[in-house]
């Protein structure tokens, strides 16, 4: 079979198949080979023809290893999430890639990883649980292992394991396992779901002022500040700085003046 298997769900993804083999797995839930190589500094960027100075050019064998690693990690990411539906589209072009993986082997390994993660005492949900550093844990030294230090530096209460995997160029499975162990060790905790903060009062959106409005800053307290045409900032913001900026600009335009 040659074609694509689209998995709808969260995160969902696409298996690219050629002649019965899976040649690529793409999902928003796990970094692809280009991301792994670029974020780790092994290539300049995806789609860049000429490598930047100081950037090592990788060989075909190394790319093939990263591609296979990414395919297994992506399959895990799809299967550890929710699957709502699948659509098979046969024919068409498939991604140019290496020899491909046997689908049974790919799925078997992905399920093994799902089971291994869920068997951990404090298993994390890689795409849903947002990580925060536990009270008392030291961001700089608390992790010990390099990957733990990276996780501690990135655990800001907003990021999931998947987000950390993208930022560190690690696989989602590796990050999820390490995060689960760190949860158990008391280094991390699950961030409480964020609730809207009591912030700015309700303010209506106002139309752009048709004329320069000098008194915009003293409008009703419940209305947004307006920009004045030609101005660079809200009329209520730092008028003294704006005047200085314009004076500097005038000098640049006319050094003699």
């Amino acid at each position: 079979m040659t074609g694509t298997l689209h998995v709808m769900g969260r995160p969902g993804g696409v298996f690219h198949c050629r002649e019965g083999l899976v040649v690529a797995v793409r999902t928003p839930g796990a970094p692809g080979p280009e991301t792994l190589l670029m974020r780790s500094g092994r290539i300049a960027s995806a789609g860049t023809e000429a490598p930047e100075a100081g950037t090592r050019v990788i060989g075909a064998a190394e790319f093939e290893v990263v591609r296979v690693v990414s395919a297994y990690d992506s399959a895990f990411a799809i299967m550890v999430g929710t699957v709502d539906d699948c659509v098979l589209r046969t024919g068409g072009e498939t991604e140019p890639a290496g020899r491909g993986e046997e689908p049974e082997r790919l799925v078997r390994e992905a399920l093994r990883r799902v089971d291994a993660l869920r068997a951990l005492p404090d298993a994390v949900l890689p795409h849903d649980d947002r990580m925060a550093v536990a009270a008392g844990a030291d961001r700089e030294t608390g992790g010990g292992l390099p990957i733990r230090r990276e996780i501690l530096l990135l655990a800001d209460g907003r990021r999931t394991c998947r987000d950390i995997a993208y930022a560190t160029a690690h696989g989602v499975y590796a990050v999820a396992v390490e995060v689960s162990r760190m949860l158990e060790a008391g280094l991390l905790e699950r961030a409480e779901p964020q609730e809207p903060e009591e912030g700015a009062p309700a303010k209506p959106i106002l139309a752009r002022a048709p004329e320069p409005v000098v008194k915009a800053a003293v409008g009703p307290p419940r209305s947004l500040p307006r920009r004045t045409p030609g101005g660079n900032e809200p009329s209520s913001a730092r008028p003294e700085r704006r005047a200085k900026d314009w004076a500097d600009f005038a000098r640049l335009r006319d050094p003699a003046g």
């Binding site: 928003p28 796990a30 700015a200 209506p204």
Partner: protein, 124 residues
């Protein structure tokens, strides 16, 4: 209440779409109304820059007769920035990493934009 309702919409979008890292709502003049962005993102600055970009995009669709502007997409090496028009008076910026599924983002953003438009209308 409007601020809370807008923030709730942005939090919901980040939870629903894998790869969204933050978002904000601003006036068409680039003044920040509400934001859900990472610490290192200067939301006020981003709101102003996004408004300028959206203004140019509006002119572009006008001179090319492409109809009403829906959104602009700016893609970098480490992710993308989507700027959506919210009616004629506001905009929403959505930030994503390189794994973000653009189609999924657009699919989830459309209903969110309608709700955000209604929230802003009610606030007027």
């Amino acid at each position: 209440m409007m601020h809370n309702a807008l923030t709730a919409e942005m939090l919901g979008l980040r939870r629903r779409v894998v790869g969204v890292t933050g978002s904000l709502v601003a006036t068409i003049d680039g003044l920040l109304v509400a934001s859900d962005t990472e610490e290192h993102v200067e939301a006020d600055h981003l709101a102003a820059v996004a408004a300028a970009g959206l203004s140019i995009a509006r002119r572009t669709v006008e001179v090319t007769d492409r109809g009403a502007l829906l959104q602009t997409m700016i893609q970098g090496r480490k992710g993308c920035t989507a700027v959506y028009a919210v009616g004629d008076m506001a905009l929403m910026v959505v930030l994503g990493d390189e794994g973000l599924d653009i189609g999924s983002l657009h699919g989830h953003s459309r209903p969110a934009l309608e709700r955000i438009g209604s929230i802003l209308d009610e606030g007027e």
